[in-house]
């Protein structure tokens, strides 16, 4: 089939080209604390801070994508030491994303929803060795502290008694993201905004992930080709593109204990402009949910799918189209399958991540998504 070339955002294409170059760099080892502290101190000197001390560097575990740390910075310009969070790219990740896009978006959307304030961004790793984003420390937890270390990256843990307290706030923040419209286009220069009333919103996503699959496929998988063709043929029109978080789910927001107040929406690395149905379809993925006490399936461990959609419509004034939602459920499951069946294994082969072991473990989730895709395409 002579397929029409699919559109890919220029910044995404840049990231994929960088990924190819990084594959020649060999194995990636976790960043060592002493060396990272020296690099941070030199970076802050470059930014104009003086009498700098970086200490209390502590690695954050539990995620599946970037190297993450907390640290404390003292300098003459601060009245007192401040804590920060650092997100750094390894050579390859489960998904190639952009610290510049993340910083641009966080700076623009601050005040619309709670987000960690941006302190500095090193988009190409010129100063810190690898691309990095530094944000101010935000207090809170991503799962009830009583639940300890169960679950990997938002998979397989419940929110217990917090579910009732969190669910409405979870929807309120999602609606705020989707209805935000006074963004500054110039300040979001690394994003492409799809044309309204066209299929671009969907096809930019198909183009991105089709390019990832072409790079990371380790073994043929006919279903993936069938789905790609299906997604091209069935791409829906998006009348009014908005900000799509891209990974909005349990595990990617912080809340206070015991109030349940949401203190920050995290992990904006997959954010793009697109169709609001895409976030709803991400939330309802089975991998992020579990069965409640009464045998009903709770999306993100918070509420049933029906309740989510009903409350979202009420709060947003937007009408959820079932066919469009189904389309994005297929798209999201396909993306997730690409990560699990392709990227995790490619990274494992290359040894190009600080936790290849975790990524190859996640490869086992691929067939959960392919099974889901088949049911969706067949309307079951």
């Amino acid at each position: 089939m002579n397929k029409i070339p699919l559109p890919v955002e220029p910044r995404i294409q840049y990231l994929l080209d960088r990924k190819i170059r990084n594959q020649n760099l060999g194995r990636y080892a976790p960043r060592e604390s002493g060396e990272l502290i020296m690099a941070l101190e030199a970076y802050f000197r470059h930014l104009g801070y003086t009498s700098i001390t970086v200490d209390n560097l502590k690695r954050i575990t539990g995620g599946a994508s970037k190297e993450q740390f907390f640290f404390r910075l003292q300098c003459r310009e601060f009245a007192e030491p401040k804590r920060f969070a650092l997100r750094m790219d390894p050579y390859e990740s489960i998904v190639e994303t952009c610290r510049l896009r993340e910083a641009q978006l966080l700076q623009q959307i601050a005040g619309v929803v709670p987000v960690p304030p941006v302190f500095a961004v090193d988009p190409d790793g010129q100063h810190l060795g690898q691309p990095a984003l530094i944000t101010e420390f935000v207090s809170g937890v991503t799962k009830p502290s009583a639940r300890g270390s169960e679950g990997v990256s938002g998979i397989g843990f419940g929110l217990g008694d917090y579910a009732e307290r969190l669910k409405l706030k979870f929807i309120d923040n999602l609606v705020a993201i989707h209805t935000w419209s006074d963004w500054n286009k110039k300040a979001l220069s690394s994003f492409v905004i799809p044309k309204p009333a066209t299929t671009e919103a969907a096809l930019y996503q198909v183009g991105w992930w089709s390019a990832v699959w072409a790079l990371d496929k380790v073994e043929s998988y006919p279903l993936m080709t069938l789905v790609e063709n299906w997604l091209i043929k069935h791409a829906p029109i998006c009348d009014d593109p908005c900000v799509v978080h891209g990974d909005y789910r349990v595990g990617n927001f912080m809340f206070q204990e015991p109030s349940g107040d949401i203190t920050a929406i995290l992990d904006w690395e997959m954010t793009h402009f697109g169709d609001f149905h895409e976030d709803l379809a991400w939330i309802v993925q089975r991998l992020y949910g579990h069965f409640g006490d009464h045998g009903q399936f709770l999306v993100c461990g918070l509420m049933t799918k029906e309740e989510l959609l009903q409350r979202y419509e009420e709060k947003s004034g937007k009408k959820v189209c079932k066919e469009t939602l189904r389309y994005y459920e297929v798209l999201n499951a396909w993306k997730s399958a690409i990560m699990c069946l392709g990227t995790t294994i490619t990274v494992g082969v290359n040894g190009s991540n600080h936790q290849d072991l975790l990524l190859t473990w996640l490869s086992g989730a691929g067939s959960i998504f392919t099974n889901y895709i088949i049911d969706l395409i067949r309307g079951e």
Binding site: E219, S220, P222, T225, R286, G364, S367
Partner: protein, 173 residues
């Protein structure tokens, strides 16, 4: 004699549990997490290694069967006809060869899978409508069974929300 692979894997797990993990700095969360994941991987490998050949052989048998169905149904123009010839050649090779290792078998699964992927694209280009529909159904049926087999294969990883309803590995070989 060959020392039992299962026993050696169990010894690796015990060494991690009893000697290595207790010696890791309790403040080094990444090392603790990686060591725990090593135990999970080793336990899963111990459950799977002896069945890996039969699993891959089962995959190849199923893929060979649907490739035959696709050949019987194929109707279309130049592209469809060319890919049908490629599938026929792959099937001829498989029927006259003996694959004795997981890797050799996986290579044939990969090759036949690539042929079927090419057919999906060729049919979109010049296949007749009825064939496109039938091809989709054949691939979806196969993929549904294969997804069930793969989910059963990774059932012990504990990630599948419906894991309690899955068959055990022996039932899907």
């Amino acid at each position: 004699m060959l020392p039992s692979i299962s026993i050696r894997l169990n010894n690796l797990v015990k060494a991690l549990e009893c000697t290595i993990i207790p010696a890791i700095d309790p403040n080094n969360d990444l090392a603790q997490e990686q060591a725990t994941l090593m135990i999970s991987h080793l336990s899963l490998i111990n459950e799977q290694w002896d069945k890996a050949f039969l699993f891959e052989k089962g995959t190849l048998n199923r893929l060979t069967a649907i490739a035959g169905k696709i050949l019987s149904a194929a109707r279309g123009g130049v592209e469809t006809t060319k890919v049908a010839d490629d599938i026929r050649q792959s099937l001829d090779k498989i029927s006259t060869s003996l694959y004795l290792t997981v890797e050799e078998t996986s290579q044939q699964v990969d090759q036949l899978g690539r042929n079927i992927e090419a057919m999906l694209n060729a049919a979109e280009a010049d296949g007749v409508t009825e064939f496109i529909k039938e091809l989709e159904n054949i691939v979806l049926d196969y993929s549904k069974t294969q997804a069930l087999r793969e989910r059963a294969w990774f059932q012990s990883a504990g990630m599948d929300p419906d894991r309690d309803e899955l068959p055990c590995i022996d039932e899907i070989l």
